[in-house]
């Protein structure tokens, strides 16, 4: 990897791969950085590492993702894998790779950092044995290991169904699926989105087939769950839940996989002071960009799910728009046809996303106030009660609340707790979440040792990447 490029792309998932290849075709100098050992991002993690039959167990989308990752690997785009961005200052990106701090300089920056699971604090969510269903799926992809059974899945949306089906396919039948959808009848929502559904028939069929497979396998599906609690000593022992009619029940469980959708991964954009807005429908921060994906920080583009959740299939299209725009800014002729096709595809994806958002409403995250005993900030062990006390003491935003309570002051710098903290502060102070805002994110973005910082590799040593 050379020290100076036209565009540096952070993230080699569906968006990053597509943007890199599009820019590469224009003859621009591109470098991609990714924390993982290979391409694919979260959604297609470790896609190149599976034998075909192993990948097939994870579903058809995953096999397609493996093909995209293979094409990217063969494209000749320079990539630094195992590379964690530590700091971005002006045009210089400092990143940690193999225990050494290195740097590249890029005229333009593209953030393709994807999504994170919506963090939903409930009592006991920090216990070993409780995981995000998405995080669990990532583990399946990367390690190809299924920990011993006793799975309860809880949440709403297609992913939780998919993971349940993947567990079935891998021979571990889930004990139950606790459905937290706040929408009682997704079918009725579907009726209002008929034309969208018709245009996305494949995706709809996929969703229906997941549910059919679960029912066929006899997995109990308990709907209308509005509250959940994980209990146990050192690890999870039981899952307690409450339904919309007030009824409560519990299940013994070895693993609880929770998922109420994903939100954009905004850490890097926040660290760069890119402007963000609060999406009141999805209750999360979303970067503000123009129609090409350029953020309020000139020359910094945000693409794919990092710019707003549209899903892995749509990610290459927003990446394509940004790539064409950058090509144009750098004096190349943009591919008008590719731009038009990308816009059409994004429009279709937005329509389908509107249906998904309307049909699957996070019942726990949106419907239930965070319980006092829930650990909001897992790094610093700050409970909701402590954060509430900070609000009573006058904190009206995450910065003051952090100073008062240490919420967001730990290892992850608010990556996990930030969304919940904003929602809690807004609810308790009576302010609009948009006015509360998000955490300030500081460099280094990931921990690095004093020696690693003090002994950054000189530019000349970095030719190989």
């Amino acid at each position: 990897m050379t020290g100076m490029v036209d565009v540096a792309i952070i993230g080699a998932g569906p968006a990053g791969m597509a943007a890199a290849q599009a820019l590469h075709v224009h003859g621009l100098r591109v470098s991609v950085l990714d924390e993982r050992a290979g391409p694919g991002g979260n959604v297609h993690a470790a896609a190149l590492d599976h034998p075909p039959e192993g990948a097939a167990l994870l579903g058809r989308d995953y096999v397609r993702g493996a093909q995209a990752a293979r094409a990217f690997a063969q494209s000749g785009v320079p990539v630094a894998y195992g590379a964690s961005v530590s700091r971005i200052e002006g045009e210089t990106i400092h990143y940690l790779q193999h225990g050494r701090l290195r740097q590249i300089t890029a005229g333009r920056l593209m953030l393709a950092t994807g999504a994170i699971e919506r963090p939903v604090p409930f009592p006991g969510w920090h216990l070993p044995g409780v995981m995000g269903a998405g995080a669990f799926q990532l583990m399946l992809k990367q390690s190809r290991v299924v920990p011993a059974g006793g799975y309860v899945l809880c949440g709403t949306g297609p992913l939780v169904l998919l993971v349940a089906c993947q567990l079935l396919a891998l021979g571990s039948r889930p004990l139950a699926l606790l459905e937290t959808n706040a929408v009682a009848s997704p079918v009725r929502v579907g009726a209002a989105h008929l034309s969208t559904l018709a245009r996305n028939a494949g995706a709809v069929a996929k969703g229906l087939s997941y549910m059919a497979r679960l029912r066929l396998a006899g997995v109990p599906v308990i709907s209308g769950v509005t509250g959940v609690e994980a209990k146990g000593g050192e690890t999870l022992q039981s899952v307690h839940y409450r339904r919309r009619d007030g009824a409560t029940a519990s299940l013994d469980a070895g693993m609880l996989l929770f998922h109420e959708g994903v939100i954009p991964g905004t850490q890097l954009g926040l660290a760069l002071d890119c402007r963000h807005r609060w999406d009141s429908d999805q209750q999360c921060l979303v970067p503000v960009t123009d129609e090409w994906g350029e953020s309020s920080r000139a020359g910094t583009f945000i693409v794919g799910d990092a710019a707003g959740i549209l899903g892995a299939d749509a990610a290459p299209h927003s990446a394509m728009l940004a790539a064409q725009r950058i090509a144009q800014q750098l004096g190349h002729r943009p591919d008008a046809r590719a731009v038009a096709a990308a816009r059409r595809a994004l429009e279709q994806a937005s329509g389908f996303r509107r249906f998904l958002d309307a049909a699957y409403r996070p019942g726990v995250a949106f419907g239930t106030p965070i319980a006092d005993e829930a650990m909001i900030c897992r790094c610093e062990q700050v409970t909701a009660a402590t954060l509430r006390a900070a609000v009573r003491d006058g904190a009206r935003g995450p910065a003051q609340a952090k100073a008062f309570s240490r919420c967001g002051m730990g290892l992850c710098q608010g990556r996990i707790c930030g969304n919940a903290a904003t929602r809690l502060i807004a609810a308790d102070s009576g302010l609009d979440a948009a006015a509360v805002g998000g955490h300030h994110v500081r460099f280094p973005l990931k921990p690095l040792s004093l020696a690693e910082l003090a002994d950054e590799a000189p530019q000349t040593e970095q030719a190989d990447g």
Binding site: R87, E89, T92, H94, E380, A390, R392, D393, G394, A395, R396, G397, P398, A399, Q400, A403, F404, S405, R406, M409, G410, L411, Q413, V436, G437, H440, R442, F443, P444, P447, L448, S449, L450, A451, L453, A454, E456
Partner: protein
């Protein structure tokens, strides 16, 4: 329209120290704070409770700082009792480390001039590497030496900040966040403060808004010579506590992390960002000072703006009838004296004549003209 006897402008440690002091004296107080993203030195403080080196350019500052740390334990005890927050005061002595012989010589001269301010009643010693390592064996062999003084210590600045806000609330103080002052008008009964959304009438006002005091001063026709000097700090992962002494370059926090400083940047304006070059230099110095830290992880860095006057000393002045200016760089070190003594001046409506040296007049006329 809100109304109070005394309006304190500012929401940091200095403002809240004075506001709490005034509430304890039974005054009706309103605190006007800015929003969550305000530039706030109190949230970036290193947490020293410090005398070393203070007063080399303003002699009265040395005994003032010594008195402030002497009564600090009463403040810590009261806050613990009243708010339940332990601000973790430790006063076991402090060190200033010098990496080079040149730094050490400069330090020796500064300490001598400070000691001269109090005619020999200030105890300190200059240490070479050997003496330093006898005191703190973890100090590296390349370090030239340092200065030691028994008066110094530390407190957790964020806990102090929180405790002051909680104490103020428990004392029934009126707190208005998101209420930066846009203009100040004089009225027959004192002042009217306009925040853009609301107006607050007060008989007296306290300007305690740190760097914001420059703008507030201008609203009253007074030039307040405060300027930002940026400092960058690194914070480590949790490590076992290895030293009891506090150093200007490193200290353990009660939460188990270590803070590592620092920098003195005069040209950064109001930018609180950190920079690669400075954080790297701090890491490099820290490795030389404490070789055991090499493999310790840095979790975060931050930049904060010191509020620096031309002689790096506080300003206490009645800049207009009933309008008191309270500004300093050392809001933590001086917290107790601000609460007990300075609040008393505001309560009585006058700064004692023997404190006149802290006034704006010491900067001469040119500071009244130049912004």
């Amino acid at each position: 329209m809100d109304e109070a006897e005394i309006a304190v402008i500012g929401g940091g440690i200095v403002a809240l120290s004075v506001a709490v002091g005034l509430r304890r004296l039974g005054r009706r107080v309103v605190v006007l704070d800015e929003g969550d993203s305000a530039i706030r030195a109190s949230r970036g403080n290193f947490g020293l409770v410090w005398v070393q080196g203070k007063g080399d350019l303003l002699p009265i500052y040395t005994p003032w700082a010594m008195g402030a740390v002497e009564i600090w334990p009463e403040l810590a005890e009261w806050l613990q009792e009243f708010t339940g927050i332990d601000v973790s005061l430790e006063q076991l002595g402090g060190l200033y480390l010098c990496r080079s012989e040149a730094d050490l010589a400069l330090r020796a001269a500064k300490m001598a001039s400070v000691a001269a301010n109090v005619q020999g009643s200030y105890r300190y010693s200059m240490l070479d590497n050997k003496a330093l390592r006898a005191l703190v064996p973890q100090v590296g062999p390349e370090v030239a030496g340092g200065s030691y003084s028994p008066y110094d210590g530390q407190a957790d600045p964020l806990r102090l900040f929180h405790a002051l806000h909680r104490a103020y609330r428990r004392l029934g103080g009126h707190y208005l966040p998101g209420a930066g002052v846009a203009s100040i008008a004089t009225t027959a009964r004192g002042y009217s403060l306009d925040t853009g959304q609301t107006r607050i009438a007060a008989e007296r006002i306290v300007l305690a808004a740190g760097l914001g005091n420059a703008a507030l001063g201008r609203m009253l026709g007074v030039e307040v010579p405060v300027k930002p000097v940026r400092g960058q700090i690194l914070v480590t992962e949790r490590v076992p506590k290895v030293f009891d002494l506090v150093m200007e370059q490193a200290r353990h926090t009660p939460d188990g992390t270590m803070l590592i400083g620092g920098s003195w940047e005069e040209g950064a304006g109001h930018d609180t960002a950190t920079s690669h070059d400075v954080t790297r230099r701090i890491a490099s110095d820290a490795q030389a000072f404490f070789p055991f830290l090499k493999g310790v992880n840095i979790l975060r860095s931050w930049g904060a703006l010191r509020i620096i006057t031309p002689d790096a000393s506080p300003i206490y002045d009645e800049v207009a009838p009933g309008a008191f200016l309270v500004t300093c760089h050392s809001g933590v070190s001086l917290a107790a004296v601000h609460m007990q003594t300075v609040a008393g001046w505001v309560d009585k409506g006058a700064i004692p004549a023997e404190m006149a040296d802290f006034g704006l007049r010491r900067f001469g006329n040119h500071h009244e003209a130049a912004p």
